[in-house]
Symmetry: none
Subunit: 136 residues, 4 copies
DNA sequence: GTGGTCTAGACCACC
DNA sequence: GTGGTCTAGACCACC
């Protein structure tokens, strides 16, 4: 699996990594029992300080997404799917709520906002970034 | 006009204030030529250190939203409406894009996301926070 | 005579006024014995706080350019021409020195600077803002 | 690289520092990718409060001259040379224009001004502060 | 170690 | 009264 990290930008790197792991689990790309790359490995791949990776993994352990396999690395917990789906939903909902709150404070109408939302959605779909629904 | 500031939360206070001014201009609540409360005044009202208010106003000056009237205070620039509307649109679009990017990475479908979006929208409408569209 | 004042800009208004009086004397537009407009008059003309005008006049008095005519206003001192010419020369030289210092710190060559200077000079001449020399 | 700061003088300290960085980039003394001294380091070197240094660096970030390396410091952006050269030219041109405007308002002729300019230039050259042109 | 934010308080010029 | 600058010092997240 590939992480992509933006070292500038307001989300801390360790948080970006933790989120990406959770999203990958929610997506089914990572499944329970699967190992994640070692701290050193990922540190090299991303050219990121190992402490930063370790902090991300630590957080994922606290959030019951990863568990250590004594001496052999970290694995995705078999019971983490529901948890990650929930985390994903919160994350997405929070983004939507932020946008919504700014929109209304700035005098956008519901329709303006819907238009903007659908435009962004189409944009993502046309890039093949998102799975459409068979019903469309 | 009323600002509300959350001293805990990931957006710095000065940034919250700067955004609220821009959103208020975009909304038409603040108009060109209008004075904003003095640094000291707002400092008292919000119980925030004057330096923090001054920093927000400084940023708004950089962003060509406020201009100083020497010795008399700060006013909304007459040409700032378009700029603030643009800033609002960027802010909202960025929030939408963030949510969308998390959603797709986490395996949500377009319809899941639409459902979530419409739910949040209805929630805001039912609170009377946003202007509906049939009335326009 | 007409003053023009830029209420924004880094030179304080009272200083702008004081300088313009000195320059006008150096130029011969204002001559010894001539009255300057009253504080109230100029305050109205420029839409500037009377205290600001008064401060400019006060400074000009300290600099021996103006003197009060008991109860009748302020006049240009008859001995102020040399003083004003000297002030003008300092002012101009200081501007040149500033530009020069920035230019050299920024790696401009003497010729770059000469080119820039001549270009600005031509620009001013073509606008008829400056008196050329018969020798050109 | 050496900064020199004049705490008295009409240009604020943070602005002096920001300008000197830009001029150093324009000059080629600082190049893209190079780190600038840390806030604390420069604070000690110049005996200036760290907040003041931070303000200068903040401004340079706004002006797209510096970029932060999280937790490691600030670097000159690789694309900042053109920007800094432009900033230098504006700064110099503005100084020249100011001098010129004062000169003409005060009745100097173009030749008077040229004489003054060349004198200052020779003065700087004789001090070895500026690169002459025959050698290039 | 790094920069970013915030407070508290002084002092200043300007109007 | 106004905003702008600067200091001193605390605290924080990040690496």
């Amino acid at each position: 699996m590939f992480f992509s990290v933006d070292p500038n930008g307001d989300v801390p790197i360790y948080e970006q990594i933790a989120r990406q792991v959770k999203l990958a689990v929610a997506d089914g790309v990572l499944v329970g029992g699967q190992m994640v790359p070692s701290v050193r490995q990922l540190s090299r791949d991303l050219a990121i300080n190992p402490n930063t990776i370790a902090k991300a993994y630590q957080q994922l352990q606290n959030d019951l997404v990863l568990e250590p396999l004594r001496g052999r690395g970290m694995v995705i917990r078999r019971d983490s799917l529901a948890r990650c789906t929930k985390a994903r939903n919160s994350l997405v909902a929070e983004g939507v709520r932020r946008a919504l709150s700014d929109a209304l404070a700035g005098g956008m109408t519901a329709d303006d906002l819907r238009g903007l939302f659908e435009a962004e959605l189409r944009h993502a779909e046309s890039n093949g970034q998102i799975v459409g629904d068979e019903s469309r």
